[in-house]
Symmetry: D2
Subunit: 327 residues, 4 copies
């Protein structure tokens, strides 16, 4: 087993709160084990361009609580080509980097696997994405923070909704999975939650809103994942309800990119710190092609292969909880 | 001068943070002076319907820090008719309410003036609107809170914008006035600010963004008031910039109704408390048709007539400050 | 099996964020199953005094996001006596309450067990306490919120600490267990963490702070649990360090009761909603003397007996993570 | 008039939120006018030691929303000596710095005046202190942010106070002036407010708390400035009330240094931006010995001499408002 002397750390794909905390953890764990550490800017694109920076324990002070990623993130088409990856390999070896910690999502890990296969380059992944759509971990980095951001914003919208007896359709992130919608919906006390995994049906939605009204509710919040299974976006849902419930004053809010930002929650900071330690220690132990995850509250590793192919499942219990809470 | 025995308090028009604190202040000041107090639900519509509730000092505990308005707000077409106002007058006199504190914006005060003219009913207004578009006060209730909400959200968007080197167009409230855009834009460190009062011109915008890029800025935030003078909304602006600066990754965020909600800032809570005291004391002193405002940090009253007709002006100094900050 | 017709819900012991959300869940689940529900004010004391309120689905609107407990909490000496419990039993039966959901901590559950033994009264417990010191659940209600509150406050203190190159001792809650100190300490990037479970030793503390200083750190944060094993409180620690490191500008901050308040995090709101459903469903199924908990991310029940006797253990992995992060 | 070619900017005394935003504004205004700019670390001490850093427009990106001061602050005994100031003058001239913007409080400005007198060195001051105790400006930098921090924390304490029917004495900053206590007290809905400027008297306090209790209030918050005129600190007040109102469950919370930190409010960021522009423009115009302030919502300058000697007065209207609100 070749001894790891210098680890590169990078963030890739959509940014998420906690990425900076994870970088900090990787850097400090390297320092702890006297391994050199380099930051790679802008994900695989920066890797190709050799856009590196040496990082020591002090380089990462004051970032544990900062949103985004100071190493920046980007998508790289060039890395999808053999030539691009060859350049990346050359840049890494030129800089004496002999192992990687890559923080990102599904696409990031796919790239990592291909690169490892071609160059046998040791790589450990950390799941950083707000969507929580990675198998092999109960929580991706940033997901908990995003849930708090979303419920805080919906709390504000609720203030005005209930002052005016309005119905709001609120779009939250989640093209393929309904984790954010389902959890933030329950957390914000939404009357209905529309997700990609289940088709509530538009008629049932109108029935449910009618029942809400009859039961004495004067305002309602419907949380809608981007990719909800009705196939209608929030504006189309508004039109549909306007048509079928003309007495309702319906409004729409698309939360958008603010969901990605913000200072990470304590949970995400601690998770990032734990994951960074485990990532470096696995590289040090000669491991590769693993993703560090959280399973049953314990740090555990999963083959990257599985982290990619699988998909985390929503907690169906929450659909039932939501139905009961909307009584 | 007839002694005031019972004051009605209501909120009308768009809700704003601090309305609950103002209601609390009106209620407690009434209690202090042994004047009875009734809450009127849903603005002028609730007044017509006699939808009142007796309020005492304890009724309003625990609301100083709550967004929205527990008396709810609504727009009333019926109150725009002579018949509607006759019903409202009857409902008030049936309930022995002999004076009004009305919390709202321009439309609210117009209604108040008409009603006063017809029935000689004593009314004092408190400016509650996030837009800060009322003459006779440097700050409307809720405006300061909204500014904080907007900069906090833009801070979050900045996290992701700078992680990805993106340009964001962010739409904030303000159809007719640019107060929110201008102040929150400077507060959030926006590179450009588009407001209804000044036409920056699209070419100058592109020039400015190009200069930003050349000067080394990797991401940019442009804050746009709903009614900005270019006549383009944020989506059209995105298209325009996409066309003229194809290298830029442009995104859009419409902040929407969350801007109305949230726990009021200390400033708004204190302002609401001061305004409520002065409103009740003016009614008690036999005054009417006045709006309580803040002028040069001091509570002052202005004839409702002027509060309506005038319009608060933006601080042009801030345009200059913004230009310098974007150097 | 006697059919449950009316459930009483109460909060007892120190309040924690999420108690209101749990009450809401209990009330709505009762409504869903057509079971009547009564709120019991001020814990066991209100139970003795028959201080009850009928609650329906609408009674609990708008409280999911409120800190504290609207049913209030109290400690009751009278309930520790046979006579007190007899009064409580009479009050419950007079009000036709035939089962209880009790939300609180260790002391609350002890009382519940005694009461159940004497009167065979069905009781299900929900663990509501910020300290996370209950066996049978990985998370007590309110714990996650408190961690976020603590890291946000320490972030603020860090701003001023690093502006002045100061050392801060920050006392957080935790007389017997170090969960808050350990997790919030890691989350806030504390240089050292003192907890009841491990004796770091004062000499090692000074050594560690000296190393921090030598490694280039200009400011330091030491998070201290109330019951830390050194036996010294934050003021004594300050004196000790002042004596042994006179060059350091040492300050103290005791976070105190603010740690109990605040709007619950999404996690705590969802947990509360899930726990309330399970509590009512268990009573409905004829179960008693169980505590609803979260085990491996799934809702599970534990005999109240075990919930009391055991004690949750700190995650020792975090001590190691903290050491590495302080490199 | 000598043309200014290079301006030094520094922060001194206790840090306050908005200092970073003010530094950013000074730096960017210099860039706008093609004046060089140097940051001076650790206030007058760093000036003596020549601890400078060249700053350009890009150096200060991403700091407008950060608490504290990245230039750090310190108190310097050496600068109080003639020799110290001579070293400082030499360091400045060695670095070609020919004017200063100094951000701080009363002590900072005193030092500036002495230095200017000895070396005729152009200096403009910006009032940065959370206490708002500087004459010549209605608002010092950081004051508005601190008020929001304090009311948010008291809101949290209120959650637990009202859950347990407790009385809290909460100590906030303010040794000599009661601005924070008075405004945050009114904003947080405190039942009583104790400040350095007025002696409420302990008997009146107990009377007032008794009246509160009789009027149906179950919990109470008393906000106490550090230097309140009763001469008793919060712990002594607790003892006094415990003795005279034994039925009350009294608790104490000392907010401490967290009041200094946190991301500045929109108000403070805008104020900082405006002040920085005016400071540089005044130096550029050949002015010196002025403090930039806010008077009647407009930026205005005051001779440093007056900024020091005077002291801002509390708004006595607020004492009356507080009394009425506590009815």
């Amino acid at each position: 087993m070749k001894k790891i002397k210098k680890i590169g750390v990078m963030t890739s794909g959509g940014d998420s709160p906690g990425m900076n905390a994870a970088i900090r953890s990787v850097v400090r764990t390297c320092a702890f084990y006297k391994i050199e550490c380099a930051g790679i800017y802008r994900g695989y694109q920066g890797m190709i361009e050799g856009d590196f920076i040496d990082l020591n324990a002090r380089s990462v002070k004051g970032i544990i609580n900062k949103g985004g990623t100071f190493l920046k993130s980007a998508r790289s088409k060039e890395f999808m080509t053999k030539e691009g990856r060859a350049k990346a390999y050359k840049a890494l070896t030129d800089a004496n980097i002999d192992a990687l910690v890559t923080i990102g999502g599904d696409g990031t890990f796919t790239g990592a696997l291909v690169f490892n296969k071609e160059y046998n380059f040791p790589i450990i992944g950390i799941p950083g994405t707000i969507d929580n759509d990675i198998a092999g971990t109960s929580h991706t980095l940033g997901y908990d923070t995003t849930l708090n951001t979303v419920v805080e914003v919906i709390d504000k919208i609720r203030d005005t909704a209930s002052s005016h007896n309005r119905l709001f359709f609120i779009e939250v992130m989640g093209r393929d999975v309904g984790h954010i919608a389902l959890n933030a919906g329950v957390g914000a006390g939404a009357e209905e939650i529309l997700i990609p995994e289940e088709d509530l049906g538009l008629e049932r939605l109108v029935d449910s809103l009618n029942r809400s009204k009859e039961s004495g509710k004067s305002s309602s919040i419907v949380v809608v994942a981007e990719g909800d299974k009705t196939g209608k976006n929030v504006f189309e849902l508004k039109d549909y309800v306007n048509e079928h419930m003309p007495e309702y004053d319906v409004r729409v809010s698309v939360l958008g990119h603010m969901q990605r930002g913000g200072s990470p929650s304590c949970f995400d900071r601690v998770l990032a710190s734990r994951m960074g330690v485990t990532a470096v220690e696995n590289l040090r132990d000669g491991k590769s092609n693993l993703m560090v995850g959280l399973i049953n509250d314990k740090i555990a590793v999963t083959p990257l292969q599985k982290a990619i192919k699988g998909q985390s499942k929503i907690n169906k219990e929450l659909i039932r909880v939501s139905d009961i809470m909307s009584v």
